[in-house]
């Protein structure tokens, strides 16, 4: 199983040094989306802003960027 790292950039830069084995990159993306939503929910609860630049970068064991989840794509804010 490949190991991926979910690095968070949301004002706090939290590089994932531990990583975790996932069945696929898709599974890592699903976890990243859950993580992004969890962080967003708590930012909102704490009355903190959520910026468009906030994102989670998924890297592999070689350190290569494999995918980026933008916070703006995991929430649905309507007019």
């Amino acid at each position: 199983m490949p190991r991926f790292y979910l690095n968070l950039f949301d004002g706090v830069v939290a590089v994932d040094e531990e990583g975790r084995d996932y069945s696929s990159l898709e599974a890592a993306k699903t976890e990243a989306i859950k993580g992004a939503r969890d962080v967003i929910a708590n930012l909102i609860k704490d009355g903190q802003p959520v910026c468009r630049s906030y994102r989670i970068e998924i890297t592999d064991e070689a350190g290569s960027l494999r995918h980026t989840i933008q916070f703006s794509e995991v929430m649905d804010v309507r007019p």
Partner: protein, 249 residues
């Protein structure tokens, strides 16, 4: 073999923190029939729904946790256990397991025959009282965890978990000074606090940025224990660390 090398010494020491025990009480614990078993990380000791096992396990080395899994497959870790902790004392009297018990790390347990332990509780009231107090303390820790998961923000929640772990490890004679290896992955910390692993990593990073903890891989040290305790709203009261002197009612 001297008594301090004997596996039962760990149980005697633990129960002696729960109630004052006489030399005869201690000798009776030492005489209990037991088997030692070793479990690999993640392996199950108890599964929800199963009938009670014929023995009760207590931890000789390593770490374990209790957990429940929702039908959607989400796991909630409800307590952590380490050397000296009895993992399923409740099955002395309850017929079926209502939760799962899993090894967190490589785990060694001494498994005591249930009937012998029940007989001991009947014959030796001070031992029975110690076991009862142990169950009451477990319940107190569960209450604190409900508050933690239900009413504290992510930062306070994780700080509280770290403070509890450090305090219990110190009391069990495990950590050297204010530095210890947290035997939990980010995912497991998340399961214990109701957060995602991404959020756990973020929170640990922010505690480190504020100078409260120092993190190197899984090694954690506390650079500002007093401040961390205050962020965690942590008090040791609910752990009832040593009841032995107060119970001479």
């Amino acid at each position: 073999m001297s008594n301090t090398d004997h596996p039962m010494d760990k149980l005697v020491k633990k129960l002696a923190t729960r109630n004052s025990l006489s030399a005869e009480d201690k000798a009776a614990i030492f005489a209990l029939p037991y088997t030692t078993r070793t479990y690999e990380p993640s392996s199950y000791l108890v599964r929800e729904g199963e009938p009670a096992r014929r023995y009760c396990s207590f931890v000789l080395s390593g770490f374990a946790y209790r957990q429940k899994i929702t039908p959607q497959g989400t796991r909630q870790i409800v307590s952590l256990h380490m050397v000296g902790d009895v993992l399923d004392l409740q099955h002395l009297f309850l017929k079926r397991a209502d939760h799962n018990v899993q090894a967190l790390t490589k785990l060694t347990t001494a498994d005591i025959e249930r009937d012998a332990l029940r007989a001991l509780a009947v014959d030796r009231p001070a031992v029975a009282e110690a076991m009862w107090v142990d169950a009451l303390v477990d319940a107190s820790v569960f209450r604190e965890w409900v508050v933690n998961v239900g009413r504290r923000d992510a930062r306070t929640r994780i700080a509280h978990l770290l403070c509890e772990f450090a305090t219990r490890m110190k009391f069990a004679g495990l950590n050297q000074g204010e530095r210890y290896e947290l035997p939990m992955t980010q995912e497991q910390i998340g399961d214990a606090t109701g957060l995602t692993s991404v959020h756990v990593n973020r929170t640990l990073k922010s505690l480190a940025d504020d100078g409260l903890v120092h993190r190197h891989k899984r090694y954690l040290s506390f650079t500002d224990w007093d401040n961390l305790m205050s962020v965690a709203e942590f008090s040791t009261l609910y752990l009832h660390l040593d009841q032995s002197d107060q119970l001479g009612i």
